[in-house]
């Protein structure tokens, strides 16, 4: 990340310390064909009490990023870069130190609540285990009190405290999971597609709970989803991810109103509402993360692609409105590319994408 940008970032950021600061994060997996660059140089900040939405297609690396922040990557994945949590570099910690932060400082809410709870353990036992791990001396009564209070806030009646997971509906299980993640009051929580497995009505309830986290718990949240509607409802800022990179990040309202990056624009256009008459879609399929397209990864599918997009990766810049994006077309629109040769700015000849690559 360039120094100039770093400065700009600090200028626009208020003086209160960030909960999370990520710089040039990379997470690569090893496979037979070569390393998969699931996360390929991602930088962002999260302020206390803020909800940052992370949106993108399947396979863009957002789940990997979420897990990487907590150190929950599978064997064979390597992470590097800088990850500061409340000032401390998480990547420099030993495994044990990272472990002790999980749960109490860093929380995680997973996608499928059904399988995330041990079917042989009662809910009470789940809470006891979590609380006791981080507060060794706490007595049973205090544990139960805190757990029941958390469940109450999640809308789970105390009579169900000693029930087993399979006795709850999907929505209730997710609320229990959120409760388990929050009971230790961590300052930062990652929610990885928390409502994808739930129906729409339940989804609304869960999103409301997540949205109110800020008031009730002062927790910062990284909300990973592919659903733009949720972002619009619940998030303060949004980061759009494509092929392992954040292509645009800014205040949610601004990004939705004036998207700088063509991908963001296409995403917004492809959402369906009651007024939709024709289906818009982005042709092609997500790129191969082992050998991503050269230059800007989005260029094969971008309606605004120019010659330069295929040869040079665009520079991360803060644009009008405060949004940060990396896109040559956006730069050109702001008049920043005037000194480049015409050849570079000519529209890119793209291959006809008639059939999705996966077929």
């Amino acid at each position: 990340m360039s120094e100039a940008l770093e400065e700009t970032l600090h200028e626009t950021t208020p003086p209160t310390p960030n909960v999370v600061e990520a710089r040039d994060l990379r997470v690569w997996y090893g496979t037979d064909r070569g390393p998969v660059r699931a996360v390929d140089g991602v930088s962002f900040d999260i302020r206390p009490g803020e909800i940052l939405g992370l949106v993108g297609e399947s396979g863009c690396g957002k789940s990997t990023l979420g897990r990487g922040l907590l150190g929950l990557l599978p064997d064979g994945a390597k992470m590097d870069g800088q990850l500061r949590f409340e000032g401390e570099d998480l990547l420099a910690l030993s495994k044990r130190e990272l472990f002790s932060r999980r749960g109490s400082q860093l929380g995680m809410i997973f996608q499928e609540p059904l399988t995330r709870l041990n079917p042989l353990m009662r809910i009470s036992e789940h809470f006891r285990e979590t609380l006791r791990t981080h507060n060794k001396g706490m007595d049973k009564a205090e544990i139960d009190r805190q757990a029941l209070e958390m469940l109450r806030q999640m809308g789970i009646p105390p009579t169900r405290y000693r029930s087993y997971p399979h006795e709850f509906s999907g929505g209730m299980r997710q609320r229990i999971m959120i409760g388990l993640a929050l009971v230790l009051k961590p300052p930062f929580v990652v929610a990885d597609e928390p409502t994808t497995a739930l129906d729409v009505l339940v989804e609304a309830q869960i999103i409301r709970i997540l949205h109110d986290l800020r008031q009730n718990f002062d927790t910062s949240l990284l909300l990973i989803t592919h659903n733009l509607g949720i972002i619009a409802e619940a998030c303060d800022r949004v980061a759009v991810m494509y092929a392992g990179r954040i292509v645009e990040i800014g205040e949610a309202r601004t990004v939705f109103a004036t998207p700088q990056h063509p991908y963001t624009r296409e995403l917004l256009r492809s959402t369906i509402s009651l007024s939709t008459t024709g289906l818009n879609f982005i042709p092609g399929s997500p790129p191969d993360l082992v050998e991503p397209p050269s230059g800007c990864h989005f260029h094969p599918r971008c309606p605004d692609a120019m010659a330069i997009c295929a040869t040079r990766a665009p520079v991360d810049r803060v644009h009008a409105g405060g949004t940060r994006a990396e896109c040559w077309a956006a730069d050109r629109a702001e008049g920043l590319l005037d000194d480049l040769p015409e050849a570079d700015l000519a529209p890119l000849k793209q291959e006809e994408i008639s059939v999705a690559d996966e077929a």
Partner: protein, 340 residues
């Protein structure tokens, strides 16, 4: 338990009702098979010992001169009353045979299962935890070889090894013990305790060691494999990752989540192996001249005593089915997901 306990009796009744047809199928199969053989049972068993009239008389007493369907229904009826008929060779009611010899087989089987649990479960858990390491390889090979090695061979080899030390390798007890102890439950080891005779108890215990170890190793081999696979699968389960995400230390995660969940099906597994255990018990009894039902079965096989063979096999069939019923019930009590 959490679920409505009032329906447990109903569940049991449901299972019993499902068991009955299965038992009926097994009994019918045994009956058909043993009648299908050419020649008649009586001459096969004692043909060379009795005169023709005596043979006919025997056949009449055993009801073998009546039409086969009548015989079949008679047989079903008597089995329902727990009367398994009489042997041909020595005219003994099979129920008596079961009573006198069942205890020895029972103590052998129980001892073997205990040894299998003590050896098999820890090794299986260890192998699953340390997948693909040297420890895992050694344990797996041990498991495979334990199962591959025939009980009669292991018994024979152990016998050769142990012979110089004078450790007992035959029978269930010394003649003195057998003479002294009153058969109350007909399970010798229990009877020695009831009689308060410590020397006799130790004597019987000593005799139990070799056969139980041999049969136990066989079962342990199977158990190791099953437990290991279970552990591998539970370690990949989602709730394990979720627990890690909450900061639960790895050793607790492994012990309280993976191992515990991996062992829940162990009871079912043991129950399912009861068939294997019975087969192994028959062979073990042959190897160690153990006075159990297996030994008796072989006696009747050699004597071509159809009634004896039929009676004992029918009893085994019912026993296996009852055990599987018991296992189902225990499973329902232990696993909260089984709704009843």
């Amino acid at each position: 338990m959490a679920s409505a306990s009032g329906s447990l009796p109903r569940y049991i009744v449901q299972r019993v009702l499902m068991i009955i047809p299965m038992v009926w199928v097994l009994i019918t199969m045994v009956f058909i098979l043993l009648r299908v053989a050419p020649g008649d049972p009586v001459s096969a068993a004692v043909g060379d010992k009795l005169s023709d009239e005596a043979l006919d008389a025997r056949r009449a007493t055993l009801g073998l001169d009546r039409p086969i369907l009548t015989q079949y229904f008679d047989y079903l009826g008597s089995v329902a009353r727990f009367d398994f008929g009489k042997t041909i060779s020595d005219n003994q009611p099979i129920t008596d045979v079961i009573k006198n010899n069942g205890g020895a087989t029972l103590s052998l089987t129980v001892g073997a299962i205990l040894i299998a649990l003590v050896v098999g479960i820890p090794l299986g858990l260890l192998a699953g935890r340390r997948r693909d390491t040297g420890t895992d390889a050694v344990i797996r090979v041990f498991g495979i070889v334990s199962y591959a090695a025939p009980v009669f061979w292991v018994g024979l080899m152990l016998r050769h090894l142990v012979a110089p030390t004078g450790w007992p390798t035959y029978e269930i007890a010394s003649p003195i013990t057998k003479f002294e102890i009153e058969p109350v439950t007909h399970i010798l080891i229990v009877d020695t305790l009831l009689a308060g005779n410590t020397t006799a108890f130790l004597d019987v215990l000593q005799h139990h060691v070799m056969p139980c170890v041999v049969l136990g190793l066989l079962l342990a081999g199977v158990l190791i494999r099953l437990v290991r696979v279970n552990v591998l699968q539970t370690l990949q389960d989602d709730y394990v990752e979720a627990a890690r995400a909450r900061g639960i230390p790895e050793r607790y995660v492994v012990r309280r989540h993976a191992f515990r969940n991996a062992l829940v099906p162990v009871i079912t597994v043991i129950g399912l192996q009861i068939a294997l255990t019975l087969g192994g018990a028959v062979l073990t009894e042959a190897t160690f001249s153990w006075p159990g039902l297996g030994g008796k079965l072989i006696e009747y096989l050699i004597a071509r005593d159809y009634a004896g063979v039929q009676g004992i096999i029918t009893f085994f069939a019912i026993f296996v089915v009852l055990i599987s019923l018991l296992v189902d019930i225990i499973n329902a009590l232990v696993d909260p997901r089984v709704r009843y």
